[in-house]
Structures are given as structure tokens and as C-alpha cells.
Symmetry: C2
Subunit: 378 residues, 2 copies
């Protein structure tokens, strides 16, 4: 990042494009070396130029969290799309519409009822949906346990009902709670092994299960082997953030998203510098609260991006952010951080902070700044 | 709210228009009875039909948290606008532009430096800005203490520099932390008394201080007297939410904003119902965490809006919400809340939840549903 950022109104969400490109390359090279495809989860950026940079680096397709993202990617020429939230009847018409446009949209389910609903709709509309079965590899959220007899039943319902069984997929979201390399390697191996075992169980029953999809940023960056896996999904690696920093999968100089903010006042006797980066800019995400280092609502940096040690965005109102300092009262705050001067705040969670903004300001090393719009809503 | 809501994709932010209208009327009638003007803070809705309903009920103008809101209101014919975040040089050009268009935009400051910067810009552009001095009535955030000698100095800088001193304003944000009527009445009186004292101090020095503006939803609804006050600012009362419910200023049947969500799965052995209302829909706001009743990420209701006692949105991922029940495991969850069925979630903080959506679905008692867009960004 160049030392001087062009004048921008604040608060603004700044992407350091050079860092982002390095992050994309790092993940793509790792996946290439492990012999698997990378299908980035675009929920992190929801921004076409970012997604296009991931595709240009070698991604095989995208993962989306909403059908709006799917449509957006498809409109830009990306056809290989997985909608990675369990499908429900109310969303099947949109999914069908995307497929009828030519999008190779795959969907997921983790229950017999869910599979039956997809089959019923598919038959009604003469559509053979590509369906993944979601597997629970860590008890974190959704998915079928590998030893649940429903796993085979779902596969049978889908195949018997004329759907295409795309494969099995899982997400070891509990990896976000770790911060130790050995533990990360272990959860990555658990994610891989359980998902591969689910695929093998289905294949052993004589059903097709061509693909095995796993992933989260921490496991993708920690896995020692991805044997049996065909593709990895990961999202936040494109920007990284303080949560990932605490997990231990990125260095400070890899954080590619920050919020540019203006100093709007002080409460000197309290040691507060007040900024225009409230929760409307940062989000209310407190992802580092229970991690090894609590960054409150964000790490304070100079406008050029250098960490101000001990400077945290301590609390937030809607449009007010209160910067506090570890060493408490500092009578020179008014001069060090005068009204109108600017700071940058590194967010806990890049996905949540990005979502507060209609667009990013993407800053090139050359000093050039692009306005990149991002999706909002469903 | 009618028992059946028209088919909508989920998640969707639902406004119960009848409740909203009653909330607007309740606050307006209270302010009328207390003899003060009401200047609603539109940061809560950022939505023109909501703001227009407030104006139609008798509001004297609006309070905004961004200049984008100011422009939006002005474009709709609302000329009396207070931008209630301390002004900085980088935003003065936008403020000037609004005033040159004919908007009666007033701005605020809480420091001598801030006042000097406004004066310098105003003189440079031959503009006499209307400026409020922000007073700190509870140590919560910004503002000058009434006994700070800078209070008079700021007034002198503004008046001496050719600006119009609009008056003094304060916001007793600490009222959100209370839940007892006597304590709420006390903080309301403190907010009033301190702000009036600041005005009197300025007037005693021979300077004009025509207006006294106070407010927050809890203090506005608790004040016994507003003597000396000319106007009240309040925002979230238009929808109310679980935080305000815990503060004790609204009843459950006054909560006018909810998130409609679809059941997408279950983890039966854990007693979980999984929905499509993750943090992207609810926000990460945990405003009830330290209140007398912790609603986690929201209170679960039936689709028609009836509270399901003990049902909470216990945790959230980006697009997944996990509903948990106080009584723990319930083997009938799959039948009680089948895949594809719908629930409604009442949010902790209406301002934060609304901000996650590009539009509201405004439901009339007749069953009619309007799509009301809301502002996003700065």
C-alpha cells in the first residue's frame, strides 16, 4: 500500500489489491500442489473483480451463499457454481431458472426430506439437479454424520429420483476456533477423512459419488494431504482478517481489507479518539473476543497501514467508533490524532465488515483507486 | 399482522406497518403533550416511506447519521435536517452542496478546533453554517461537559466567525443500559437539565442559543418534563426491538420489525433447527447480551408472529441460523418445524438488522405488501 491514499470520503472499505493478489496466488498454488481444484467461496467479497481475479488465477468455479451471488457470477460468465446452503422448496424455482439459463448450478441437501423435496420439484419440471450431500465433519453446523443411515438413504432418494449425485461436501467450521498448527492439521485431516469416508460409503453401495468437496480457510491452509478430495472451498483467505490472524494462518502484512476512517473528536481525559467508523462500518462482529488476542472492534493503524500497537477500536455506536489505547490516558492524543486526520482499522471479520459497504475502494500499488461494487441482500 | 404472509423469499425484513404507525403516533403524541418538537433520527430505518410517515404524523424535521441520508431526505422534500455526527473538514463540501441546493442542513461540533475548521471553510465559501454544539450529558460518547470552558469558547468561535449558533444538543446514550423506570426518568432529567444548563451558560455570556435538542428513545419515553428543551431526537422507537423491550420502554406487541426465515434443516440430537437467518440477515448485534434477558441473536416466533417461548436464535454463521430451545432436546423438532416451514425472528437491534437488507417488506393489515428500499453506505 502506498503511503498516501487518494482522497476518499470516510468511512471507506479499502482493498489492498497487491495483498489480495498474493493471497489468491498463495491459496491457488497450495491447491495446485495438493492436486485439487479450488472453488472459492465468494460470500467473502461478493465482488466481481475479486471473483474474476480468483478465476484468472485458476479457480475451477465458485461457491456461493445466496442465489443472488450465483446469478451475478453466471451473468459474468462463470458457469460452475455451488450454492452451499441446504436447498429448500422456496428457492428451487430460482435454482431452476439459473440452470435453464445454462448455469451449471449445483445444490446441497443433508436430509431425506430435503432430497425428496428436490426430487419432487425436479420431476415436476423435468430437471435433473446436480446435488451434493452435506456431511457433518465436526459437529459444527449442518450435515449428516458419516455413520448416519440417512446418508445412503439420501443418496438413494436422489439417484432413484433421477437427480445427479454430484458428490459429498463438508465444511469444518470449528477450525476457526483453533490456533495451533498441530490442531489445525488434525481438523483438516478429520474434515478430509470423514468426507472421503462418506463418499466411499456411497460408492460401496453401488451409487456414483464423483466428487468430494471440503474446506474452510484454516483447513485449506493447514492440510498435509487431500487424498481422495477433488476440490476445496475457502473464502476469507482472499482478504484475511484479525480472526484468521489469531487462528495463525496469515501474517499481519497479508490482511488486505481495512476501513479508512476520519478522526472526528476526542475525550481527552478518557484517552479516547472518536472516529467515523462505528458499527455501521465495522459490523458488530466480535470474532476475536474469545480468541487468544481480543482486538475489540478492530486494530488501529496509521492511514498508511502501520499497526499502532495497543490502539484498538474499543467500542462502537452506529456512526461513532471510540479508539482506546492500551496504555490508557495519553494527553497528546489531540495532537497525535487531530480532527480530520485519518486512520485505518483492520476488521475482525472481513466478510462481515465488507458487507457493510456498497462498494470497496480497491487501491493498486500505483496509487490508482477503483470503485468495486459488491452485492447486498438476497 | 395477518396470520398469513404473502409468499416472500427469505430471509426478508418485515415491517408490520400498523405497529409502526402506532409507534410513530405514540412518540409524536408524547412530544406534543410535552410541548416540544420531534425530530426523528432516520438512521434507524433509512427508508423514505417510514420517514414520510413520521413527517406526516407531525415531525418537525429529521436527524441523520450520514450526509447520504440528508441528501435522500432533501430530495424527497424534507428541508429541516440535522447531521448529528461531529463535522470534519472532509465532509464540509458535501454539507455546503446540500445547503446550496436549499436544504436547511445543520451540523454539529464539540471542540474549538472543530469550530475553527467550520468557520474557516464557511468563510472561504461565504457560507454561514447552522451549527449545534454537542454537549456530553452522561459521559457516554462525544460532547463537551457543561462546565468545560471550551463550551463558551466554541460558541464564541462560531458566532465570531459568522456562523449561526443553532443551539446545543445532546444524546444520553447510556439510557440504553438501564431497565428501571425511576432510573430512566433520572437519566432523562439529567439529559434535559445538563443541556438546558449549557444553553443558559451560552445565553448568559450574551450569545444566542435558540434551540435545545435532546434525545434517545428511552429518555424520550421516560422524561417527566422537557422544560427548556425545544426538540427531541429519537430513532429506534419507530420499530422498537428486543434491546428496547429489555430497557422497558415497549411491549412485545409493539415490535414492528422482524426477519422472516425458512427452516433449512435440523440436528435432532442437539435440539437444533437450522434456518436461513444467519448474521448476514440478523447482523452480529448482541445488544441483549448484558441486559436482564439475553435473547442471543433473536427471539423466535411463528410465521404469524407469536413468540415461541424458550426459542432463541442461539448462534449464527453467515447464512445459517441455529435455533435452540430452552428446554433442550425435543425429538419432535422435525415435525414441528419441517424443512421449508417458516419462522420469524425478532432482532436485538432494529437499526443493525435493518441495515443488512436492501429493502423492507412492509406488510399492511390488509395483507398488502410493499417493497420499501433503504439506503446503504455513505
Amino acid at each position: 500500500m502506498s503511503a498516501t491514499i487518494l482522497p476518499l470520503e470516510t468511512p471507506a472499505a479499502i482493498i489492498d489489491v497487491a495483498r489480495m493478489q498474493r493471497n489468491i496466488l498463495r491459496m491457488q498454488e497450495r491447491m495446485d500442489a495438493l492436486g485439487v481444484q479450488l472453488r472459492p467461496h465468494v460470500k467473502s467479497s461478493k465482488c466481481l473483480p475479486v471473483i474474476q481475479a480468483q478465476m484468472a488465477a485458476g479457480a475451477s468455479g465458485v461457491t456461493v451463499s445466496t442465489l443472488k451471488e450465483a446469478q451475478h457470477c453466471f451473468d459474468a460468465g462463470i458457469t460452475e457454481v455451488m450454492y452451499a446452503v441446504a436447498m429448500v422448496p422456496g428457492k428451487l424455482a430460482l435454482a431452476l431458472n439459473l440452470r435453464r439459463q445454462g448455469c451449471c448450478l449445483s445444490i446441497i441437501t443433508d436430509s431425506v426430506v430435503g432430497a425428496q423435496l428436490i426430487v419432487a420439484f425436479g420431476r415436476q419440471h423435468a430437471e435433473s439437479f446436480d446435488v451434493w450431500i452435506e456431511v457433518d465433519s465436526d459437529g459444527h453446523r449442518s450435515g449428516l454424520k458419516v455413520d448416519d443411515c440417512a446418508l445412503l438413504e439420501v443418496a438413494q432418494v436422489l439417484c432413484g429420483g433421477g437427480m445427479q449425485l454430484a458428490g459429498v461436501m463438508t465444511h469444518a467450521g470449528s477450525s476457526y476456533e483453533l490456533n495451533d498448527l498441530a490442531a489445525l492439521q488434525a481438523i483438516a485431516e478429520q474434515e478430509r477423512a470423514i468426507c472421503v469416508a462418506a463418499a466411499e460409503k456411497i460408492r460401496a453401495a453401488g451409487l456414483p459419488c464423483p466428487r468430494v468437496s471440503v474446506g474452510s480457510t484454516p483447513t485449506a491452509l493447514s492440510a498435509l494431504s487431500l487424498e481422495g478430495v477433488t476440490e476445496v472451498r475457502a473464502g476469507v483467505y482472499v482478504f484475511f482478517d484479525l480472526v484468521m490472524h489469531n487462528v495463525g494462518v496469515c501474517r499481519p502484512e497479508e490482511l488486505a481489507l481495512s476501513v479508512l476512517t476520519t478522526v472526528i473528536g476526542h475525550q481527552v481525559e478518557k484517552g479516547w479518539v472518536i472516529t467515523d467508523s462505528g458499527w455501521m462500518a465495522m459490523s458488530r462482529d466480535r470474532g476475536t473476543q474469545r480468541q487468544r488476542r481480543d482486538f475489540a472492534f478492530g486494530q488501529v493503524c496509521t492511514e498508511a497501514g502501520a499497526w499502532i500497537e495497543g490502539g484498538l477500536l474499543g467500542s462502537v455506536n452506529q456512526e461513532h467508533g471510540i479508539v482506546t489505547f492500551e496504555d490508557g490516558q495519553d494527553l497528546d492524543l489531540v495532537n497525535r490524532f487531530p480532527i480530520g486526520s485519518r486512520l485505518r482499522i483492520l476488521p475482525n471479520h472481513a466478510c462481515a465488515t465488507g458487507a457493510q459497504f456498497p462498494h470497496y475502494h480497491a487501491c493498486e500499488g500505483s496509487g490508482e483507486v477503483h470503485l468495486w461494487s459488491r452485492l447486498h441482500g438476497w
